[in-house]
Point group: C2
Chain length 138, copies 2
């Protein structure tokens, strides 16, 4: 089954707007699709997957440049090159996790403080942000 899609159907299937598809194409995240006589773009179902992939990666904090890199992993390149790209991305992800973990810890502490002693006049969250306590945490 061939199931070619117009831009509107593709957008709908992928859960984005038509303009977003055009935008991704301008950015090179989607390759220029077939164009029959009408000039209308003809997409294939794999493009739906590709857009969903983009959206998932995005929701995890990758920007469109990152994603372009990830998508290039799916290409005719040598194994060591893809290995290096993946490894590099892995390091970035690990750094990002570490940064988020320290933010998480700071937030946890603030929330806990607040639950423990919110009866005493001032709010510990505000307090902790006003003083320089987190300086080291972050």
């Amino acid at each position: 089954m061939k199931a070619r899609l117009t831009i509107g159907r593709l957008a709908e299937a992928a859960g984005v707007g038509v303009e977003t598809v055009r935008f991704y194409q301008r950015c090179g995240l989607l390759t220029e699709p077939e164009r029959p006589a009408s000039g209308y773009r003809e997409y294939c179902p794999a493009d739906v997957q590709r857009i969903r992939f983009i959206k998932r990666a995005q929701s995890l904090g990758f920007n469109l440049d990152d994603i372009a890199g990830l998508l290039k992993l799916d290409g005719p390149q040598t194994c060591s090159l893809t290995h290096d790209l993946a490894l590099n991305k892995l390091n970035l992800v690990e750094d990002k996790i570490a940064a988020l973990a320290s933010i998480r810890d700071a937030l946890r502490q603030m929330v806990r403080q607040c639950e423990l002693k919110h009866q005493r006049g001032t709010c510990p969250i505000i307090e902790s942000l006003v003083r320089d306590k987190n300086e080291r945490l972050l």
Copy 2:
């Protein structure tokens, strides 16, 4: 000690740019300071704290609107609102960490596969990306 500051000294003390101070003022994050005959803004040391507060809150993932809210909440009776705001942010951060951890695991596995058997013709990373495995991995 009164220690009134010009905008430049304030910015320096708080570790931001002069334009950033003016910007925060336009946004209402800093109240319009005194203006002697010269027309130059005269800040007080508390404003340094206020800017640091903004910057720290920002690093925890609050945006300037959130922060304006926090600054308005700095009173005795509003602790539970602040608590909820922080808790909410904490949940978002935890979700993001979990999602990144699963990406990290997927990338780790890909890298390891590649290192184990990259001498055999095809690249396992490319293989795994060409198929729709990412669907589940990500």
